[in-house]
Amino acid sequence: MFSVNTVIGQPGSFAKERLDESHEYKWPEGGLQYIPDWVYTSPEIYQREIRRIFHGPTWNFVALEAEIPNPGDFKRSYVGPTPVVVTRDSDGAVRVFENRCAHRGAEFCRTQRGNVKEFVCPYHQWSYDLQGNLQGVPFKRGVKGEGGGMPKDFRNEDHGLLKLDVSTLHGVVFASFSKDVEPIEQYLGPRILKDFEVVFKERRLRILGYYRNELPGNWKLYHENLKDPYHATLLHSFLVTFGLMVAGSKNGMIADATGRHGTLASAKPEDVAAAVGAVKGEMRAYREDFKLADGRFLQYVREFDSPWSVTMQTIWPNLIVQRELNTLGIRHIVPNGPHSMIMLWTMFGYETDDEEMVRHRLRQGNLMGPSGFLGLEDNEAIKFVQEGVRRSPSDRGVVKLGGDTQGSTNAVIDEAAIRGMYAYYRRTMGL
């Protein structure tokens, strides 16, 4: 049972959750300063997103190369809601194919990670190599004297697994169902690539572990959350009280040229007390009396050649790259219907970390994830939004901060990046 099913008013019981293709999806007047609720609630819109976005010309995150270092290593993963398998081929290349037997459709790979020589579907033991090519069909020629078997013209080459296009960039693996997507560097664009490279370029990752949670909200709300610097300075008492991100300090919301990707960046002020003192009157979450008994966990070890101490990257459509001081990770968004998403987190450090640095990252990990001081607050807020838009007859949200600008901004009290994302979304969705 998903937690979206534990709220009064089951999914599908409200009119705005039942809009089909006969509904006229008309964006509210006022351009991008309003977001219609049906982008979060309509099953028709959700299906269109799967077709046009997740299965369309986009690069979807599927794995980190550090998870599959050796030939035969594999990982279960997802492109949109579609299960795929990511493998390291015997020649070292990374392959991605559907987790669906070409014979009768069984989802054959049932373990998260492992190492194999071949994949065998347990139902009728069709076997596939590490590229997804069909290798063997038991009793292909039937049984002697009894007949049966495949027709003479059956060719294994015609019955392999559905293969996806693969791109790897600095150890991060992306896949696409589409042949029409631009090269990955171009897809990200130079502004996004820059902070992506700070985390990944010429780095060998050490995987520290996984979190998995269901987040009962529409998948786009997670992108919005990280294109929304305004909330960061209000919702999160940790950011505010300890000066990790303060309005008026050096912050940036960087969008790519299309508006779909973003980097929420901030630089920890040198003088935290002064920076916080200037704006604390506006922030209810500020707590004068909150002093850490163990301050180690918020220390910042300067390990990057970057002016930013924090960069949170939203990479369309399904990847978040987290660099929050020294706690690093990716979040893989798996849409789970209009009202729910699955978040798959992989936390990592670097192979060059000594034991104390690993422990520092683990301690600082308390900021993020489904029990993180920041993470749990975002999950709660996103859940509240989904319940609000799903269950009320009102029909739109307001994104007017900063006027009608779109994309990058240096102002924290600004929703330009959310508007920029929806400008792109409307083009790609034909809305």
């Binding site: 534990t6 995987i207 979190y211 850490l292 990990g365 709660e380």
Partner: protein, 169 residues
């Protein structure tokens, strides 16, 4: 199974007495949390305690990450303060059920035990849900005649957390 928590022979009578004492400890600990008295939660730990909640997939693969990761009582206290006073989350009540207590080791370094836990969560206006099923791997030491946790590894089976895990296990 968790590394360092192998079963070793313990005198049957001693094991029985320890088991009763640990069961009382669990009852007190869970009562404190289930009453919402999270600021008394750090009292169950030694100053150098390690407290971690992690998925079984991490424990099995030897991956060190924690959903919650504390390697001092001070960190546990900071979390308790934040949960009580500064964190934003919807009101909820929790109930812990601990069973199958097994004493694994008893020696000068402390007492090691394994127990199963179930955590129920109730939000406003919703049904009670089984929020987490897991195992405690505990190391107890004795201070002033009372057991304290020197280590608690909470290893959960519940693969997908329902939104978040706010309050301690």
């Amino acid at each position: 199974m968790y590394p360092g928590y192998d079963m070793t022979p313990v005198d049957a009578r001693e094991a029985r007495e320890l088991r009763m004492e640990i069961e009382e400890f669990h009852a007190d600990y869970c009562w404190t949390l289930d009453c919402g008295d999270v600021e008394r939660w750090p009292d169950y730990f030694t100053d150098d305690a390690v407290y971690r909640i992690t998925a079984r997939e991490n424990a099995d693969a030897g991956l060190p990450v924690g959903l919650v990761y504390a390697d001092s009582k001070a960190m546990i206290r900071d979390r308790a303060f934040a949960l009580k006073h500064t964190q934003m989350y919807a009101p909820r009540s929790m109930q812990h059920f601990v069973s199958n207590v097994r004493v694994l080791q008893a020696g000068v370094a402390g007492v090691k035990a394994r127990s199963n836990y179930l955590l129920l969560q109730t939000l406003v206006d919703g049904p009670t849900t089984l929020h987490q099923a897991g195992r405690y791997y505990d190391t107890f030491v004795r201070a002033n005649g009372r057991l304290l946790l020197k280590e608690r590894q909470c290893v959960y089976d519940t693969v997908l957390i329902a939104n978040d895990l706010v309050l301690p296990v």
